[in-house]
Symmetry: C2
Subunit: 260 residues, 2 copies
Amino acid sequence: MVLEKDDRLILLTNDDGLYAAGLKTLLEVMEEFGKVVLVSTMESQSGMSQALTVKTPLRVKLLEENEKHRIYACNGTPTDSVKLAVNQLLERIPDYVAAGINHGANASVSVLYSGTMAAAIEGCLYGISSVGFSLNSFSPTADFSVCKEYIRIVMKKMALKPLPAGVCLNVNIPAVKSDEVKGIKICRQSKGNWKEEFEKRKDPMGKTYYWLSGFFQNHEPEAEDTDEWALRNNYVSVVPVTVDMTAHWYLEELKEKFNK
Amino acid sequence: MVLEKDDRLILLTNDDGLYAAGLKTLLEVMEEFGKVVLVSTMESQSGMSQALTVKTPLRVKLLEENEKHRIYACNGTPTDSVKLAVNQLLERIPDYVAAGINHGANASVSVLYSGTMAAAIEGCLYGISSVGFSLNSFSPTADFSVCKEYIRIVMKKMALKPLPAGVCLNVNIPAVKSDEVKGIKICRQSKGNWKEEFEKRKDPMGKTYYWLSGFFQNHEPEAEDTDEWALRNNYVSVVPVTVDMTAHWYLEELKEKFNK
């Protein structure tokens, strides 16, 4: 069944907080597709991964309500926001969960750390068609308008036929002018990791502290089927992300290893 | 090359904090296998997933140093602890990262939320043979001694031949007497999700707040090749976990979807 706009309920969230430019852009586009309920974290929650708030109570505030949308702020993580929305705030299970637009790419192993992608994964765990969008720019003046066209395409594709159970989409958009984007590329997650990750400093009391820092190292820069390659070459990368972390291909070998 | 005990450097961490009984048990067993450096979070960080501390400085305190081990406390998440250890505290890249023993199982989709498994995944991203151990009990008086024998077996298997790149192990141990454990079962992650996840309450000011709560629902209780089945049937479950979240099996279908 293909849902009409008036029938669609879309849950929106992000990890850059309520006043992030990317969230505003995503809200504008999503209102073209259905009724939107936005549950955002009050502050930035970048790098929070799938973290849950278990030690402190969660609070939610309804900030705005009109024909097109309801907007809530939540004091938890992006994953908390999705859980609270689905369990407590929404009138029914939404048809889509959309997260972002993240300020900065979530390609390669960043999917493991990203609060934005965690929100999409959380939606996916509820059996909802879910997607995270990110723009490949950390510039405070980044222009998110290039994303609109590609968000529309992805949403239309998802509307035609739902994603399989346990799969959501990780969409990264290059931060270039619209006419420089070469199109959409379906990719796999690139292999890579982070390097030289801390700055060691002294506080005014002479005590040592560390700031997280460092840079991403792509282990396969030549691999044209990866999200990192696509982004670097001005494609929009779309990676199907599974919630099943089992290394299925290694099961038999591991059984042999333990049977010896 | 098979390393001898004196050559092995093992990084230990957990997400239940420095005074957790499971950590003490894991330290005891690991000292049989090599020199141990333990970097624990100061407080419990359950459900923190792969979260990174990006907005506040990290601090580390050396608490104890002897021939067998060094013990540090860190104010960050389990993932921060591994990153800090590898980048700043260890004399070299360790041969193993071991996390746990978690107080409570991390089977099925709990792998996505678990700080313990995040620490193992973080080790894996550095190319280190990594494993997370969990005991299937939340009881404050849980007896972790049943774990020792199985930790030894897993460590010996990992010592014989390293895990493939990008794969770590998720080991869950049933909370029963040693002679009731039926053995080790290599498994895949069971499909499931969490239900009715919040308690809605009023604070003394009359304002609403929510506590995370709920219960796990296994979607395939009859599937004998899953970790949930193994645990429920008194097996130690060992799941090979991949850091590659791409749904490879869906790539071609997704390409077709976007080419139409």
